[in-house]
Assembly symmetry: C2
Homo-oligomer: 412 residues x 2
Amino acid sequence: MALIVQKFGGSSLATPEHIRRVAKIIAETKKNNHRVVVVVSAMSGETDRLLNLAHETATMPQERELDALLATGEQVSAALVAIALKSMKITARSYLGLQLPLLTDKQHTRARIIKLSTEELKKTLEQDIVPVVAGFQGVNSNGDITTLGRGGSDTSAVALAAALQADLCEIHSDVDGVYTADPAICPRARHLGQLTYGEMLEMADMGAKILQIRSVELARKFKVPLLIKSSFGSDKCTWIVEEEKRDMESAVISGIILSHNEAKLSVIRVPDRPGVAYQILSPLADASINVDMIIQNASIDGYTDFTFTVPKTDLSKTRELVEKVLPKIGARELCTDDGIVKISAVGLGIKNCPGVAARMFQALANEGINIQMISTSDIRLSCVVEAKYGELAVRVLHDVFGLEKNNSFNPA
Amino acid sequence: MALIVQKFGGSSLATPEHIRRVAKIIAETKKNNHRVVVVVSAMSGETDRLLNLAHETATMPQERELDALLATGEQVSAALVAIALKSMKITARSYLGLQLPLLTDKQHTRARIIKLSTEELKKTLEQDIVPVVAGFQGVNSNGDITTLGRGGSDTSAVALAAALQADLCEIHSDVDGVYTADPAICPRARHLGQLTYGEMLEMADMGAKILQIRSVELARKFKVPLLIKSSFGSDKCTWIVEEEKRDMESAVISGIILSHNEAKLSVIRVPDRPGVAYQILSPLADASINVDMIIQNASIDGYTDFTFTVPKTDLSKTRELVEKVLPKIGARELCTDDGIVKISAVGLGIKNCPGVAARMFQALANEGINIQMISTSDIRLSCVVEAKYGELAVRVLHDVFGLEKNNSFNPA
């Protein structure tokens, strides 16, 4: 008898019929003698509907009210799943972030979890009642509703699994796991049965759209095994586990990921003196804008160009902040470009195979694709290229690294 | 400088454009140096949308989850109104029932208010922030969300006005006040500038559809002046005040009201012995079903028929409860009829004008309308008639009592 946290995404809850199907999955798990804690996202389309209402009401909705507004989406799902379970003779009880409580910091629209009380949930489980928790939301010490950012229900689920010391956290959505590339772009993409937290982090970060990255970080920190499943009847699934538990013969490269989510900013002709990068980036940090890739060209005549990427959604806010800094640092101008994509190869073998990077750059060059920025980690190689080349690049790299077959790439 | 509670109904909040119009009304009130507390209903259609989701998910949704579900409608409105106010440079802050808190009893879907904390609201008002309270909802001592029943936002508004000792509670909707009859049925209906709480109670009860009856009871108890206004630009409005403040020359009859909301139940051939009425009605009281009219025929051979009306929505539940009682009291059968309407004349003059009832019965008889049940109060005369005669009866009585003109009816 295991304790399982089952999280269901918006597409799994799209209609009352979907919701009854989810209730059946939960019922099945209960029948196998497991205890279940359910976490739900908003019904698909609901968060966008609410956001549209807010933006039709005012051009700059304040974040406290956005959180109060958006949190209703998950509240609706939680109540409906509890209702569906009850109709299958399974006693269930919906919980809001406010009711657990799931305490967060005071930042709105992207709050961080401070403390998750499990007392109420444990009591509920002891009574053989299935708690159905509204994901994505929490409450700050003022009693205001906060939200954890888009996809935050994954983080809610993993946090609950960690706090309850659950045996497993299942993430149910409309995908049955992770593939070597997006099958819509790359027909030869292959399903992956297993990944490490680290690989998944790089992939989620790159826009694999399966999991909120923070949830994987949290899972790694608390060693919560993740299982990515489809609620639409596929048998396949992907385990996300610690490196020690990963199969021995893992491939050098596990996947190729294309991200459309970033925009590039270049601060042109910055005097090349210490502290400039700090002056440009610290206002962004204060505004909780994630800067991803950063490059600084070699200095010419004491001037340099400073280029970095941020999430596309933060581009206008970032532009505003950086433009305020320009006169202070004596830079000439700011150029922005949202017509870029980031293409990444992710795999545990990268750190041990120096030939991988060369092979990647060569393959892109062979297709005439110009690389604008490069960044690397132990298990990731990323290039920024013009957006129109993105899908071609995925297919080329998938071929070059032989990902359609389950074998190791030999760079020699 | 007055403290005004402004409540806006669903039709006033139907779209983002409506919401901005509401924000302008609030801004205007602020500009006239009043302090404002706003109470909102769900956007029109939203409560029905949510109810449909619940009923598509399961045939018998449990009430705790229905409350958690429905409460989101007002939460959405409150956040959006706060957003709209902010865009007009008015600092606002949304509040859920849970956040005030508005403490209720543990009954779901029709909870009653136990205590309303005003501490947080007073702090907010002191900082010149407009609180925007989600109506209709509260929280019980378990921390569960409760709701006050359909139209409960009116009750939230009056409760807030009473607790804050506000000077006035404005009820904004798509109607500009109370008329002598429904203008859609009776083209000669006349707008009323003023009514007493008592008259309004009888009218709301009769289906005037303007206010939840409990809100008027609460307003009378705490002497909160009510002002019924339209948020769609009409100059007219109706004051609901104490009898002492009512104009001297009030009409004998203020209005004719048609109610489609009731169903009739007859327990046939009940042994006529003490305690029978109690045995029939006490399970209904326990189930919080409001019994309205009750008649018991003269006893023949020790048997009688016992007839009463309940809200149509409670008919099936009532039938179920009464059928359980039938064998215990030895009654023959239960007949039900939901093809009835109740037609009522309401006015302060009824108690002093014995001729009014006779005139009413005569007018109906002249049209060949059979009266099935009669009930009266100090200020109301009601008859149950076959549904098809309802609208005719309204027009006939409106004419007989001369309501198109603002004058007293002389029964002599």
